[in-house]
């Protein structure tokens, strides 16, 4: 008999091999899909985030944990859909115009999914107009913007300005990336800043809970 704690532990050690069996076992025993998600998978990813912030985990551990969660979601998603379980919130994520870098963005997307968000990945080199269009085509609660280069920070300023000007109500906006600081985020009017992927997801969750 598998338990929700088994699922949480499998996320923590990134054991994707056992995930399908664990989740199927719980479903057969009558555990609701939303509990498997929140008390197993998301609880595991929350702990992964904590360990990452506190330098107990590093990128390899996060990647394998995300792999395990992905395996579990393959099994769980149809059950969540049929039970009418909605994601905590929807986040659109992008690297700003002029920047092709995607590793940091992908890591943040992983942590956002682990925090219960449905993530719409808009890719790299995304213009303010593309961000607005994406937010108009579906409900988006939060936009997460990444920039790697000092030279693309002005594009982040443009993106925040255009999103706030064109969308009413505007989604919450968080920013991050190598040259970005809390001071810069405050100055350009972003709602939040993540110094790393795990903190970004935590800030996003807090912003969307308000």
């Amino acid at each position: 008999m598998s338990t929700l704690e088994d699922v949480r532990q499998a996320v923590l050690v990134g054991d994707e091999q056992v995930m399908a069996d664990l989740v199927n076992g719980l479903l057969k025993e009558g555990t609701p899909a939303d509990r498997i998600l929140s008390e197993g998978l998301l609880a595991g990813m929350t702990e992964v985030g904590r360990r990452f912030r506190e330098y107990e985990y590093f990128i390899p551990e996060v990647l394998v944990a995300a792999g395990a969660m992905k395996e579990a979601m393959q099994v769980l998603r149809p059950h969540l859909t049929s039970a009418g379980v909605k994601p905590f919130a929807t986040a659109a994520i992008a690297t700003v115009k002029g920047d092709l870098h995607d590793i940091g963005k992908n890591l943040v997307a992983t942590m956002l999914e682990g925090a219960g968000f449905e993530v719409v990945d808009l890719g790299v080199d995304v213009s303010p107009e593309q961000l607005v269009a994406a937010c108009q085509s579906r409900p988006v609660d939060l936009v997460a913007l990444s920039a790697l280069l000092t030279t693309t920070m002005p594009a982040m300023v443009d993106a925040v300005q255009v999103l706030k000007r064109e969308l009413h109500p505007a989604p919450r906006i968080i920013v991050g990336g190598a040259p970005v600081t809390q001071e810069f985020a405050d100055r350009i009017g972003a709602d939040g800043y993540g110094r790393d992927a795990a903190t970004g997801a935590e800030v996003a969750r807090r912003l969307c809970t308000k």
Partner: protein, 377 residues
């Protein structure tokens, strides 16, 4: 005030040995746009070669490198190319702004055509032990891995000018991220450790063979500048435990080869590497570069802590240089030199590369300030 009396080579050699030089040595890197602008103003415009990228103009192929134009103390040569194949990249898609191409490592990357930057990692063809087994035989040492036509003239000029010559190369993380990408490589450290060891072993074997090959050709260097980003803004890519398990054996093999030749090792890594410093020193790293300020690296904290066990090449905040505010810049330089100079192990360098907003006049003032504040009297 005594005049500087050492040659560049002696100045750097003494510094790398933590012996007092006449003044702090000078070395630096520049973003392409910065170098282009400085060169034009100095009357030595870049001679461009035919390429898909207007920023890829092989600075070392110039009649004089920017290091020589600023009379810097060091140059870099060799730079073996560790691609699996030396075929031209296959263009998959192209616009006025970017090009999507499959390169000699079978990696599909999207590059800007008119500006430098990290490419988008679209797909890596070598993503499994089976794919690796297919291409592994291609990874052998060969003469064609070095651009001799660019580096021989630079090497000879450096010897004539008595500059310190570094053998520049990348280390295994940097080699392999071009083949597997970071995500596959880092994930495999947990999921497929034997595969990762096999790849690292293969590349480091070739790296040592390339050092032997370059040496056999007569290009004998004074020190080694080893490039490899093993960290990002908030810390290392991997835990110290994973560093010790997967990277350190190969770092040590390479660095032992340099030390056997009496070549000190400078390691370049972006990001915050503080958690790995003790392990890096155990691997054979003598100096670190570039000490990115925005990642929390600060020579004022590190120099008193590690004293003569470690040396530093960098940490002058490029963002402060770009303000062109000479008072702020002088304070930045003086405070960091004051902290590092007592341990005789500091080389001036920006904390990565000089940004395009820095004026030539400012940069010339920076170099003068280092020569003044960096004098050992």
């Amino acid at each position: 005030m005594s005049k500087p009396s050492m040659s560049s080579r002696e100045r750097v050699a003494r510094t790398l040995a933590h012996q007092q030089p006449d003044r702090v040595p000078i070395f630096d890197k520049f973003w392409f746009q910065t170098e282009k602008s400085f060169r034009e103003q100095l009357g030595h415009p870049l001679v461009e070669r035919e390429t898909r990228f207007d920023w890829d103009t092989a600075p070392c192929a110039q009649a004089q490198t920017i290091w020589e134009l600023f009379d810097m103390d060091m140059v870099e040569v060799a730079w073996p190319d560790y691609r699996l194949r030396f075929t031209p990249p296959e263009i998959l898609e192209e616009t006025d702004e970017w090009v999507l191409q499959r390169d000699g490592n079978e990696a599909v990357l999207r590059w800007w055509k008119h500006k430098m930057g990290v490419p988008e990692h679209v797909k890596f063809g070598i993503d499994s032990p089976e794919q690796w087994a297919r291409v592994k035989p291609l990874m052998t040492a060969s003469r064609e891995r070095v651009r001799w036509d660019e580096f021989w003239p630079l090497y000879r000029r450096a010897r004539e000018a008595d500059r310190y010559v570094c053998y520049a190369t990348v280390e295994p993380i940097e080699m392999i991220k071009d083949v597997l990408g970071h995500e596959i490589m880092l994930r495999a450290m947990i999921k497929q450790p034997e595969w990762i060891h096999d790849i690292f072993d293969t590349y480091i074997t070739v790296a040592v063979q390339m050092l032997e090959l370059v040496e056999a050709e007569g290009m004998v260097c004074d020190g080694a500048f080893v490039y490899g980003d093993i960290a990002y803004n908030t810390g290392p890519f991997m835990s110290p435990r994973h560093y010790r398990e997967f990277v350190q054996p190969y770092h040590k093999r390479l660095m032992d080869e340099f030390h056997r030749r009496n070549m000190p090792v400078l390691l370049h890594s972006d990001g915050d590497i503080r958690l790995l410093l003790d392990d890096l020193m155990a691997s054979g790293v003598d100096f670190i570069n570039p000490l990115e300020v925005k990642a929390g690296m600060d020579v004022r904290e590190l120099a008193p802590k590690y004293k003569e066990r470690l040396g530093y090449c960098g940490n002058i905040d490029a963002r402060i240089l770009e303000t062109n505010d000479l008072d702020r810049i002088r304070e930045e330089i003086r405070s960091k030199l004051a902290a590092a100079m007592p341990y005789n192990g500091y080389i001036y360098h920006s904390d990565h590369s000089v940004l395009p907003g820095t004026t030539l006049e400012t940069y010339q003032a920076v170099l003068e300030e280092v020569k003044t504040a960096g004098r050992y009297d």
